[in-house]
């Protein structure tokens, strides 16, 4: 086997065992969150100095086991096998020892240098459980060190033992467990053949490979077939034979027998002097008493609604002021660039492309920071697991997961959210199919950027029933998100739901340090990854909306028109009082400016695309003006209003001055309430803005980013066409 990296320490353990808290206690803020290549499992790395040595720590994803069923487990396992850390610290929850040791046993079977951190010993003591860690260590054959991650107690001893272990030369022994009379003989035989054939032995202990063949582990068997198809075939045959035998005689499978014996081994390990329970076992602890209210049939959902609403309020209320400061700062910089750069395409690109793009990136940061803070808080306290538990029945019907609710709410399930933090909030969801379905449908919610557009259209066409229409829109967005999630899970993401089996961890108060580190790291990750994409697309969009511009001949016509107005004013002002015609001329010149802007927009690439799209969009009732506005809405939905204003030559309002667009549309004979409603439906459902798409790409893949663009737009078109044509048939036009 190749040598281990002595200064590399990996942390492994169950979810909720305090692994991340310990990682934070050791590395402090010197850490870095990234992804494992090609997948969305988080990779956390950090550094610490111990007695003059620089140690690198990797916090592996929390797992209960090391099978090949989930991404997290595969990542953890492959990291241990391929990156060969000098020592692995297995964090074990002392108050939940039996189940935590199940992973320990599997780590020992991997034959890696292992060290057990017996964490949360204070919790165990409070529950009347005392553990003889020295005896436990003797029986496991590895050092066991009691720790309290929250206070950092035992941290020094742990690192000292880790460094000592990493610098030992001897190869650690592989744990041998007896798997009973049916499995053991076959296991020995397989082990012998594996060793003789030097089959995968450069990375895996022979017995471990044999066990994986018996457990029918697809990943290991796949690797084995590549390495040596003949020997792999023999091993598969042996495994099948014993599997058939077990099914006939015991009505059981090798993997079940193996799990039974592992737990049997653990029970035996903990007997006779390792664990002492002083008070009565299984009494109701504080957490259980809290759960009596918090998951109560009636009070549970009530409290949950309050908590979810509070989480939403917190995210969007407290982030409002920082968002405004940032926007003020950005527009100040934009103003400077506007004043000092010479007019021309460069200035236009800097102001409308780069500065707006950067503004688009960092404008989201406060919302993201507050969202992660609130989600991390709910997750670390253990409440998020209760939300999933209470809501799973509803969301499962639509092929989703109880945890999908947070992403929906933050995306605008309570109108006014934002899909960027919403998509990022799906991180807590560990079921891959359910997670993708949530990511793709969360942007259907009515985010804060769609609201001003809706408000404008509602005020113009449904002014008598504003509240009613707005509530209807919230209901419609939930209905479409859930039904379309169901549709996706029926078709392209078809497959059984991922097993739920969710642990309700005891309620705990999160550490402030942990929350801060967690939040900052993720916000930074957003800026780095999603930010670059957003900036790039922003510049592309600026180009689409500005080029090729008006031809010189046309420009000259507008110039001449302005000149003639000026000349006319000068002429008239001699005869009459000067002020009135001057003001009138100013307005007339502005009108010419708007007309020029309208013509330039129509002539731009986006305008031409918008015009050619009318060939299809007429079905939903949209002309080129609406089309180009919708195209610009891909940059940010609120831009739809200002682009439409330009398209109706109403003048651009960049600094929030009112455009009387609503009045203009209401007065326009070609606009009807039906058409407005069709447009609302389209805006609600069509492609997410590209900041959201950048996050979808960050959280899943390019494929899903592109999919959400094409698929959501198709759905939006079909439904708006249905509304418009259906309405016309019913005579509502």
């Amino acid at each position: 086997m190749n040598s281990r990296q002595a200064n590399l320490i990996a942390l492994a353990g169950n979810p909720n065992c305090g692994k991340s808290t310990l990682f934070n206690a050791i590395t402090g803020a010197r850490q870095h969150v990234g992804n494992y290549p090609g997948i969305t499992v988080e990779k956390k790395e950090g550094y610490c100095n111990f007695n003059g040595t620089r140690l690198k720590l990797v916090d592996l994803p929390g797992t209960y086991s090391l099978t090949a069923y989930s991404m997290e487990e595969l990542v953890a396992r492959n990291y241990l096998i391929e990156d060969r850390p000098g020592v692995v610290i297995n964090i074990v929850d002392a108050s939940n020892l039996e189940r935590n040791l199940y992973l320990t046993v599997q780590l020992l079977e991997l034959g890696i240098p292992l060290l057990v951190a017996l964490n949360m010993v204070d919790m165990a003591t409070a529950r009347g459980v005392s553990i003889n860690s020295e005896e436990l260590g003797r029986r496991l054959g590895v050092p066991v060190i009691p720790t309290i991650a929250r206070t950092g107690k035992g941290k020094e001893e742990l690192l000292e033992a880790a460094v000592r272990l990493a610098n030992k030369d001897e190869v650690p022994e592989v744990l041998h467990i007896s798997y009973g009379p049916d499995v053991d003989p076959v296991l020995d035989k397989m082990e012998e053949q594996i060793r003789a054939g030097a089959f995968l032995t450069e990375t895996n202990p022979a017995r471990w490979t044999a066990l994986k063949y018996l457990e029918a582990d697809e990943e290991v068997i796949g690797k084995g077939r590549q390495k040596d198809p003949v020997l792999s075939g023999k091993l598969e045959e042996l495994a099948e034979h014993v599997s058939g035998h077990l099914q006939k005689t015991l009505d059981s499978y090798p993997e079940a027998i193996i799990a039974d014996h592992r737990y049997g081994f653990i029970s035996a390990l903990l007997k006779q002097g390792v664990v002492k329970q002083s008070s009565k076992a299984d009494r109701l602890y504080l957490s259980d008493q809290l759960d009596r209210v918090l998951t109560h049939r009636f009070f549970g959902p009530l409290v949950m609604m309050l908590v979810v609403f509070a989480a939403y309020k917190f995210t969007f209320t407290y982030s409002k002021a920082p968002v405004e400061w940032l926007q003020a700062g950005i527009s100040a910089i934009g103003g400077l660039a506007d004043a000092y750069l010479p007019p021309g395409p460069l200035k236009s690109m800097v102001v409308s492309g780069v500065i707006d793009g950067v503004g688009g990136v960092i404008g989201f940061i406060p919302v993201i920071v507050f969202m992660f803070l609130v989600i991390a808080f709910l997750e670390d306290t253990g409440y998020l697991a209760r939300v999933a538990y209470m809501l799973d029945r509803v969301f499962r019907s639509f092929g989703l997961h109880g945890s999908s609710v947070m992403a929906y709410i933050i995306s605008g399930g309570i109108a006014g959210g934002c899909a960027v933090p919403g998509v990022l909030a799906t991180r807590t969801l560990r079921s891959p199919r359910e997670r993708i379905a949530t990511i793709v449908t969360a942007p259907f919610m009515n985010c804060g950027a769609k609201l001003p557009v809706f408000a404008m259209l509602i005020a113009a066409f449904f002014s008598a029933k504003e509240a009613l229409v707005m509530s209807l829109l919230t209901i419609l967005s939930w209905t479409s998100a859930l039904l379309i999630a169901k549709l996706i899970r029926w078709t392209i993401l078809r497959g059984p739901s991922t097993p739920f089996l969710l642990e309700l961890p005891p309620y705990r108060l999160p550490t402030f340090k942990g929350l801060l580190i967690h939040t900052c790291e993720r916000a930074w990750q957003y800026v780095r990854k999603a930010g670059t994409i957003i900036l790039a697309i922003s510049i592309i969009f600026w180009a689409l909306m500005s080029f090729p511009g008006l031809p010189e001949t046309e420009k000259r016509i507008y110039d001449e028109e302005r000149a003639s107005i000026l000349a006319g004013t000068f002429h008239e002002s001699r005869a009459e009082t000067a002020a009135e015609p001057a003001a009138d001329a100013g307005a007339r010149i502005r009108d010419v400016d708007y007309k020029e802007a309208q013509a330039a927009l129509k002539n731009s690439i986006a305008g031409r695309v918008g015009t050619s799209l009318t060939a299809i969009s007429f079905v939903s009732g949209f002309d080129w003006r609406t089309n180009v506005a919708l195209l610009s809405g891909f940059a940010a939905k609120e831009v739809i209003i200002s682009t439409m204003g330009t398209a109706y030559s109403l003048g651009q309002s960049r600094k929030g001055e009112e455009i009387p667009l609503g009045a203009r549309l209401a007065a326009d004979g070609s606009w009807t309430p039906l058409k407005a409603f069709s447009l609302i439906i389209f805006i609600m459902l069509y492609a997410p803005c590209f900041a959201t798409i950048a996050c979808i790409i960050q959280e899943s893949s390019w494929k899903w980013g592109l999919f959400s663009f094409v698929f959501n737009t198709t759905i939006a078109f079909l439904l708006s066409a249905l509304v418009y044509r259906g309405g016309l048939l019913l005579g509502l036009g």
């Binding site: 209960y64 039996e98 039974d260 737990y263 049939r297 209470m390 739920f500 969710l502």
Partner: protein, 80 residues
């Protein structure tokens, strides 16, 4: 002693796992969480919509959907 699927157990009822009938991913997940034959458990409660079910096993609380708890046969004192 009678054997019932976990789904049929009442709140507060105790029992000992008799058999796990699930294989593949679900079976593996169930076993990973420490549910193997011979393990004592009791039903801590059900979610407001009666599904999933929360059980106390090996000193921690685990929740699983009703259609998952169908695969877990439990030996109980009496059928409630």
């Amino acid at each position: 002693m009678p054997i019932v699927p976990l789904r049929k157990m009442a709140k507060g009822q105790k029992g000992i796992i008799y058999r796990i009938n699930a294989y593949g991913e679900l079976g593996r997940r169930i076993r990973d969480m420490g549910l193997v034959a011979g393990t004592p458990l009791w039903v801590r409660g059900r979610a407001p919509l009666k599904d999933p079910v929360a059980i106390r096993v090996r000193n921690f609380t685990l929740t699983l959907r009703n259609n998952e708890s169908d695969f877990i046969e439990v030996e109980v004192e009496e059928i409630l």
